[in-house]
Assembly symmetry: D3
Homo-oligomer: 332 residues x 6
């Protein structure tokens, strides 16, 4: 099955056929990986396999804001992506019908509770249409409403890259914030902690802050253990934890060392290296992924633009994983 | 009366006397203009004339966040300020007891309504203690709670520099946002529109958006009229509008041309030049200022740091105005 | 006549109606001023009044390249634009059907002669369809092929803002380059030199380089004369020169002082100020504009992004002029 | 013993209790790790265990200046630090009374000899009061006067991370410069070369420049040997070299690869990775540390701010080591 | 008389003739304005009219260092300069034999007194050879030794652009620093205060700091008076003050508004605009200039590079003035 | 044999002897590694062993231009290099007579075919004079004409570091571009594919793009294999492939991870680390190198300047290899 040719369009002025994904990368309007925009194609939502969604929300941060500008930065940077994974030979746009769905619209972006509702509603629609979501944040608080929508039937497994566990309780007076999505997801049975793995955790803490991840039974690979284990063991552990459950994958760019992602709100020195991240991601083929996200790209702190490039690259790696799993589910 | 010598302190290790405001500007801890920090001196709040306050809140922006980092950026940049205004010969730290009060603490920075309450409570305490506030934002939504606290007894006049009128009604579902502070302030009788002047207004709009400033009777000097009138006429107009009323002064750095303040959330090309702003501010001596603020410095968009320098300079100009007025009220 | 409501679309997932031009400015896919993309609407080219075109070509520069990334930078920055000009009350999207046409496709971007051919072909199609072009470069060499296409019937008048005359002959072995477009345009009768005015010219030169603009009869306002004349006289002069001829307007951002456009290939100190440029542009209402361009935005030299904001603002000013003239021609 | 609660203070306006070290990280005045400032608490110097000191001196550099701005940059960046080390569970502010002492004052910052005298006097006072210093440079020339003050009784051991040995003799006519501190320290018996280890040394040289470190008997681990040995062997070697002697630790950020510290005066490609540095530092627990420093952060060369984050993180790692050793000495 | 053709050289590989000053501006080794380097031509020093000299010294700053990197930044930026002044038609390289002399070598750059001696010796040699110096700093402390060398016979007049008077006495323990050059120059009879004019002075001060410029009889045009007078009156005043005396011209880029020179150590908001500076400089033709300098470009604070462009442009303007005066003296 | 003292020159003003390569690194005119410029020394081309050449050409890029500014950026950054390799103790300037030859001059930089001709002519002259070239790009398209000139007699072996194979056929209508140099070099018998090794290859692709490197018989070490093999095995493989053939070495900085080279046109995440690259290069001693290049440094995308530092460091590593091989050939 091959959907890749659906990217071809005609220049609206000259009528010439061209494929934006194969045109010079400095030209054309920015969509995620230069894929077609659903608003442009007018296709039925339910005809899609995978929807790439921007979630320009950073109302959940604890320190430096700016991740609301992540989707537009990653759309730009994803011009660097082509259509075939050189190492795995996966061609996501051939395996699945993949579209850029634009951004989530918010009714009231000043009210985090309201935004959570909007996101739940949005992703519920997607889920009902049978479309697997690949989202770009925004801060990490977006993962809770996504899970609320797509894991409403049964708990899912999760592979989570991050410097922080993001399983805190309320903070500074709010239930929702970017350090809490997986606390609520676990408490509400959206993710099954025993089938969740968190990779790259590190950074100074405060006395008396419980590690809810460990208390709830998640597998936490701190960066120190990560270094000792090596990449192959991490892959094996992740595969063991999630098994054949439907699995969500979430990548907070601050899980990487800040050299790869200086443009993020709460960097922590000494993280995962990009080659390691890529090697791990490629080692996760065959898992039954049902969705994923890349979060916490805040481009305003990074004049080199490497953070957005990093985010776009991770998004492509995850898209390859998700398209294999989705093609298997949808197209056999 | 002279309070300036109160800045002198002893090096805690060597015991040597030094004046942080006159030490090399690359050294020492950053406070606003290197003034004493109230938490350091332990003085009674009520002994102060003027309190310099950081308000690290940007939960009210419509586009690019980052102004929550304004207070720390301006504390750093205000190292460039000395203690005597070269043109007016005003020495604010001699005329008044001026302290850095640190930043407003928020209970729940995710809830704009709650933050507004916190700010009202904070500034009410200040007001009750008889301290005139000079605040550094944060976004422009902070001006409403400040006015709510300090103009609770009677409406005040206002001089407002900005690219935007900030008298909009609710937006994107929220009553409070950085485009609305003066709508509420006027509606609630905190400011008297007939004694309010807005200077530098410009920027594209949408059909059907009412100009509430004009409808409520404020004097609006659009940038086009500003250019035609010239600086002296603007000064005269401002003085006429506010008369001898107690007057609040608020300076949104986006009122300036973006060349002086690229680090702001919603820049508008073609604004006030810095020399014009300084000339106008110096032309406002003698007005009965009771407080002021400088807002919308978002340093993450400006690697040259000129925005913070601009903000610190405006803050010093306003401090000079406020210290003259306050000294007259408090010390005759 | 009002076309503005055509911007409204439905969220492809939730079905909610929204107007991208009035949504929060950090969200959604970037098109010029968030206008509809013709490839998205599928409308007939001939139904348009004005086409906004990106021309990502910088193969004609003499010094620093990078303007090929101008269209994407200006698409991003034009999020700051709204739909109504605050000073002139012109609403271009209501007056005319205006669409983003995407970027010109090039067959061989390594061959400047070939690219010139591609551009001529592209703009000829537009011209034949009766669509007025508003282009975003790219370097200034793009103006020649545009004029070749749209002024093929009869010479047009021209208003040209720039630090350089761009009427040089061959340079470094090439007929085409960004210093030559108007030499060829004049020599080939596309523009009538006597009805051309160049504003803001300056910068060091070499002995023996003829000033072809003056020799061909153009009106050249060097920056020194500009300062002496004042803005009103410049407006009057421009109006006199172009008269009621069909007129092309071209704005090289290096005509402005580099403080407004550090991100350009060949900056020249001491240029036009933004307020002056805006005042002049607004003074040109009523001229029979048939097209225009904004060129030489090279974002890689400007981490503050002010150059792209400047470019987007100029583009909006020109769009207002062009929409008034086009509405008059097309819709009476 | 626990001193951590001493960080709690009252908001000087509202009277509310708050702990700056646990408040939102964008708020409040910047001190090292948001610890109390001694000038604020007014405590007796001799009641402290550890003093964090800024040394804004870069008069000893050989190439690019700017490290005088290191203390203020690291104070800002250290907002990212919390109070408990996640891997070692050391809580330095609980183990010891730790204060920010502000910056060293210089009488004449134009005269390097005079500055050295000032630093010796300052650190002698600290040393006499029994306070262990943790300093932030400034350039590496500051380590000599620190050692002169604190190792005056007997030679100490040293662990030194750097790209350069900093044991050169006079250069460009001066005895003191940032390439010489450990030459003088060894020659004057402040450090015992046989108990000194230098880690990460590399970079091109000139023929005929003697390697004084080797000649004086220091253990030098060039980066090539470092890579071959691996981190565990480096730790073992460092522990063996310093034994149970009182030990000074000094970390020049240019010892790291420039990707972690682009903001430094003399970067050398191919250095220590941050994870390695952290692993080594954590492997040094139990050594009898009596002081330490982090030097050569020159923020002006690094718009991403990663250098200051790196510096703050290293400072926290060293603080954890120093607080354990100091608590053992002072509090058993 | 015409020396311009002496710039032509042969490609050392192909033998082709080329003129670096007229080659594409991205190519070739950087010298000031791509002029020949004296070390390359091997000409006699005494055969020159004007020497362009880099003075990479910033040991005299009071706040932010970095101006030692000014000469290399301005050499790079001066690629933008051509060979003929477009407004005055002065062709400095035709009028005079102008060479890049490289940089001043220092014996001991850590000792400001020693550096002052080195500079005096260097410029004395130049002066004895009859070469007029055009220097690029470095900080402003370099002007004193230059004057010491070239005005040893008789006092000269001076035109000085700056935000600061630079006539302070000793500061922070040192006689020499960048705020003092003209104090010493006047006290030692190198400049005649009655024939000195300082333009653009501003910025906050401290009580009790005497204005030595006024006390010594210099004409000080503060920025406020500057704005009121207008450019033509400033020119007239400057011409009147210096009369027909031999005149030195010194331009500190912080005299300009920081928008033109963010990359400087001590910016002061609200300064001279570039068009004004250029207009004034062009109004000074005919004055008997004997030397000049451009100082305080510290490129590390300015990622846009506009400061270096500004500095290069000012240098070219001054070169035009100096070459006219020198040609008149040397070649009639 | 030792040529190093030939770098010593006399200050043209004071006559003092100095060695630019050992002077403070902030001073003097920028040449590659501060080596003498051939145009300055006036030596016979044929007396040289190695020529360092700038090739400011980026007309072959597929995405982001800017590498034409690579030579000037690397000249500046190479101030960080000294004269002796610390690990190998190779002193290239002693072993060989090495000069900076300046930049290649182009007749018509708008025409890539013409530029290729110019480069062939230039390098043919060098080759005929017996000078081994060490070139700095510019984009990677420069390697073809270099090889055309220096491998005209017999095919050479090649060691190639890159993210891309650069063996594509025509693209976007052009035979020549930066993705094609080694396709043509192999097809024309300039390099022998069986003796070519490409290291670090990665990045997404398109279906149907043949891997010409593999098809032509080159040894391609994709980054995944690279990680698995380890550095020592890569060295062994490279040595085996090239054997004792004359060997060209080409290093595209995008072969490194983008953290070391954000300033490049087409970065690909997850590349070679700098320590690995250095270790490999040092492992190649003894190979019969006849030339080399470092390409694709585009400084405008990197405000931290690390890319240019990286490029300068690689250039020094390659110079050491080339000087050993050349000394052996030329001086025994």
């Amino acid at each position: 099955m091959s959907f890749g040719d659906e990217s071809i369009r005609n220049n609206p002025v000259t009528g010439e056929e061209y494929n934006p994904q194969k045109s010079p990368r400095y030209s054309g309007v920015s969509t995620f990986m230069r894929a077609p925009l659903l608003e442009m194609t007018g296709e039925e939502l339910s005809s899609l396999d995978i929807g790439m969604v921007g979630v320009p929300f950073d109302g959940g941060v604890t320190f430096r804001p700016g991740a609301r500008l992540g989707p537009k930065a990653i759309r730009e940077a994803s011009r660097l992506m082509r259509t075939l994974h050189h190492a795995t030979q996966v061609a996501p746009f051939d395996l699945c019908r993949v579209r850029d769905l634009g951004d989530v619209n918010f009714q009231n972006h000043y009210d985090i509770n309201n935004c959570v509702e909007d996101m739940i509603a949005y992703y519920s629609k997607l889920h009902q249409a049978g479309v697997a979501p690949l989202s770009v944040g925004g801060d990490h608080s977006i993962s809770y409403p996504i899970l609320k929508a797509i894991a409403s039937d049964q708990p899912v497994a999760m592979i989570h890259f991050d410097a922080h566990t993001d399983t805190m309780g309320p903070l500074f007076g709010s239930k929702f914030h970017h350090g809490a999505p997986f606390y609520h997801a676990a408490k509400e049975g959206l993710i099954d902690p025993k089938h969740c793995i968190q990779i790259g955790i590190r950074g100074s803490e405060h006395h008396g802050t419980p590690n809810n991840s460990l208390e709830m039974g998640m597998r936490v690979i701190f960066i120190e253990e990560f270094v000792t284990m090596g990449v192959e063991a991490v892959i094996a552990e992740a595969r063991k934890i999630v098994g054949d459950m439907p699995t969500y994958i979430t990548f907070d760019v601050d899980g990487l060392d800040p050299i790869y992602a200086p443009g993020t709100g709460t960097p922590e020195s000494g993280g995962i290296h990009m080659r390691e991240a890529q090697q791990i991601l490629r080692g996760l083929r065959g898992i039954n992924f049902i969705g994923g996200d890349v979060v916490e790209v805040a481009p305003c702190y990074d004049p080199t633009e490497i953070t957005a490039q990093t985010g776009a690259t991770l998004m492509f790696e995850i898209l390859c994983l998700l398209s294999e799993a989705t093609a298997k589910r949808n197209h056999g």
